[in-house]
Amino acid sequence: MRGVRWLLLKDLQILRRSPLQAMLLVAYPILIAVLVGFAISREPGDPRVAFLNEVPPNTRINVGGEELPKANVREQVCKRVECVFVEDREEAREKVASGDVLAALILPANLVNKINSLSTLTPGVPAVEVLVNEENAVKAELVDDRITTLLAEANLRIARRIGNEGGRYLGLIVNGGGFEILGETVPILGLRASARILEQVTPTLPPKLRPALREVTQFATQARDNLDVAKPLIDRLAQPIAVEKVVVGGDSPPLEIFAIAVAATLTLAFVVVLLVAGSLALEREENAFSRLTRGLVSSGGLLAEKVLLGVVVGLVVTLLMLFGMQVFSPLELGRVPLWLVAILFSAAALGAAGAALGAAAREVRAVSLLAFMVTLPIALLSLVPSGAVGPGAFDAIRIVTALFPFKPALEAIAAAIDEAGSGIGGPLLHLTVLFAAYAAIARVALRRFATI
């Protein structure tokens, strides 16, 4: 192990002597920490939407000849998006085309009339107009989602309001009360009172008439009882299906904790894999490999030194990043010992994977490219949630990501950071198995590809 110490010192000297590399190692985690920090500490901005309301003022939605209170569509819409008010359609079109706004929402002049026609014998199709600029697929998807959500909410509000009014009328029919019409209050007797009066009158009538009157009383009672049931039905029509969410698995951390864990793991993975693979390849690029392994240090010792280098630098860089994140999102500092355990296990497994890559190549550039080409797609695949792709594809992704230490490292670091997180034992065991496997592969590769 004496040789390992001096080689580690040598690698740190070389690292210190490469200012660009050393600066990148420090700057990269800081940059990632700042970017992630800003992303998770800021509310997402409301999308800018041009808004044109062509509906004449004081036009109201009418149900059964009765005007509903003002809908305040403008206020409702502008609560959810940043409204940019425009004067006419041409201005709306220009703003969308230039990208100044995400979309334009136009309420046409006949919108309310079309809504009112729904309760007539000749119903129209009420529609709003949406102008969009689908300059790329992601933006198109975003606009579709936002506008669909906005319209679904508007439809729900209108349906609820109509339901409420309908319910009020039903209440009048069942229970009676006052009905405002042309500024005067018309008393409505209601089914309940009607039935009661009929029941009181029945004994005073000639026996011949009583059966017929009882039928009328019975009808009034049945109608009252059934209409009582109808009110909740009308209320449910506005939102017939309610959502009851039950979490049955996947004890996921809060989004901001997960974002921090992703950023930390990504930093750790790139730093450790590239550093270990590169420094091992450097031994061969400098032709020192055969000299070293000729009795000065064993190939196992050389691999251990490279993994140790990755662990030391990875630990410093990742801790630097996590403490940097404190500025944006305070983390539980009592869990620092768990952070250390998670980072050490992760860095060791990632370092062994880097050593396996580094042992197979002779040139630092080639091995850096190889390490990058392996780490980046695996990291991206590790973030694909189940259900986002077909079951077959997800099974394949699960197998591939289980073979590289990124995903278990992410799970270990997330569990270490998250106070209410799931157990860390499983990911640590997974990392241990991967460490042993990659260390064995690296030893074989070093022997197989060793050249004189």
Partner: protein, 234 residues
């Protein structure tokens, strides 16, 4: 240093076919031959980097120093840092004293703080050899040490190596430069396609060339040597 009947195979190909060699203290032995003759393979077996498939290798007490063809040192470290690192790895009792000794031997004491990458090829080769000497070896193996050096650097290098041999170190070096082998090698071993064709003095090689390739005897030695190899079926 003694090698007897060394055979080395790479798959189907036989890189060395029963090669033997013996070198005593202070001897300077040149191994010559065309590319692919097996020079580097023989040296790496003598150095203990590769194992022979058949035959034996033995050396007297004292480490065997190995100087690979391409300088095996860290170009981003200084001259002194390189020597100190390898002295520590060699387990020298006083690594700093060993470093100073090598700096003096190579004449690079005044450039100790310079990054190796900034040194000339000749100076890099001197450090490369100095690293090979850190273990104070009884035998020093040099694989084509003068490749890539200009004539002046070559002359310096051979002065340095000759001085080592003069102090009792056994030096075995490979080269494909016949004149270099003739000039500096006290003994010459000729290899071709893994086969040992000649083992003797430089003068003896000239005589062998003259007798086996008389048609080329009047031409320069290199041409005559190529004719000799041709006559021997290579």
């Amino acid at each position: 240093m003694r090698a007897t009947g060394v055979v080395k195979r790479f798959g189907e190909r036989e890189a060395l076919r029963g090669v033997s060699l013996e070198a005593g203290p202070g001897e300077l032995v040149a191994i010559i031959g065309p590319n692919g003759a097996g020079k580097t393979t023989l040296l790496s077996i003598l150095a203990g980097i590769a194992r022979p498939d058949e035959g034996e290798v033995a050396s007297a007490d004292g480490a065997v120093g190995w100087v690979p063809q391409q300088a095996a040192l860290y170009r981003r470290l200084t001259v002194e840092e390189n020597l100190l690192l390898f002295a520590r790895l060699e387990g020298r009792e006083d690594p700093r004293a060993s470093t100073e000794e090598m700096l003096e031997l190579t004449g690079l004491g005044d450039r100790r703080g310079e990054i190796v990458a900034r040194l000339s090829g000749g100076n890099q080769q001197r450090i490369n050899i100095a690293i090979g000497l850190l273990s104070r070896p009884a035998v020093l193996l040099l694989d084509e040490p003068s490749v890539g050096l200009d004539p002046r650097q070559r002359a310096r290098l051979w002065d340095f190596v000759s001085a080592l041999a003069g102090s009792g170190t056994t030096v075995i070096f490979s080269t494909h430069d016949i004149q270099e082998a003739e000039r500096y090698g006290g003994r010459v071993l000729v290899l071709a396609d893994g086969e040992s064709l000649f083992d003797g003095s430089a003068k003896g090689l000239r005589e062998a060339v003259r007798s086996e390739a008389p048609e080329a005897a009047d031409r320069d030695f290199e041409t005559a040597f190529v004719a000799y190899l041709h006559h021997r079926g290579h």
